[in-house]
Subunit: 124 residues, 2 copies
Amino acid sequence: MKDYPAPPPGAAPNVLHPLCPSRQVLGMLTSRWGALILVALAGRTLRFSQVRRELGDVSERMLAQTLQGLEAHGMVRRVAHDVVPPHVDYSLTEIGEEAAALVRGLARWVEGRMPEIMGSRIPK
Amino acid sequence: MKDYPAPPPGAAPNVLHPLCPSRQVLGMLTSRWGALILVALAGRTLRFSQVRRELGDVSERMLAQTLQGLEAHGMVRRVAHDVVPPHVDYSLTEIGEEAAALVRGLARWVEGRMPEIMGSRIPK
DNA sequence: GGAAGTACCTACAATTTTGTTAGTATACCG
DNA sequence: CGGTATACTAACAAAATTGTAGGTACTTCC
């Protein structure tokens, strides 16, 4: 797992290529908390601690980190009102909403197919 | 962050609920290798080592493990021809293909939006 | 004959991810 | 006054993920 041919400069993005940046982006969107944050934030604005309560069990650390990652990639918009105690609003950008729609679609599909999935599951 | 109210027996699956099984399933489909395996296997049959080469940098260990997880949840079909040297074919089941279509959609979207994403990215 | 390919598994080790705790400045509630 | 809430960060610890090396049983290619 050392070196792979770097993708040629003008090559089309391909998630199957180990070194393609698109793979990292996909990784972000499908990461444990990334995906859930997108689902929770789709179509609405929430404060930091509201997002936290929505997901139920993210630690503050992970939430902050993941939100920063999404923000750095233009998916999340962060608006900090400079007051004490702090008040920060999070919402999705346009591309963020697009990504969220897809992730949500997947999440909803899973929720809808749970009976079949659990039914055909092979218990270990 | 210890205990959460267990989801009521008849409750509808909800990925935002920490203890809902649908969250685990979503986790599988969006896991590092899970998502890529679905993309690679969509619409075709590949042997173990072919899948490995498609992804480029999975270790055998992770590939085997992830394939088993997907198989256990009815997403992947494993057909072992009893010969030496070993020959095993992997393909997606019907629900597997459904899931793959969604994951693929996300992957393709990411690939297509890479210019915008990288453009609005905030380098650290 | 020796090397490589096949589809794994099993220890063991390294790496990455995630969690925990504490701290900050201030306001509001009882 | 004491406790709670807010949105984080830093330091440290624990846990989960991932990689590495070696073995298997036999075949084909050089």
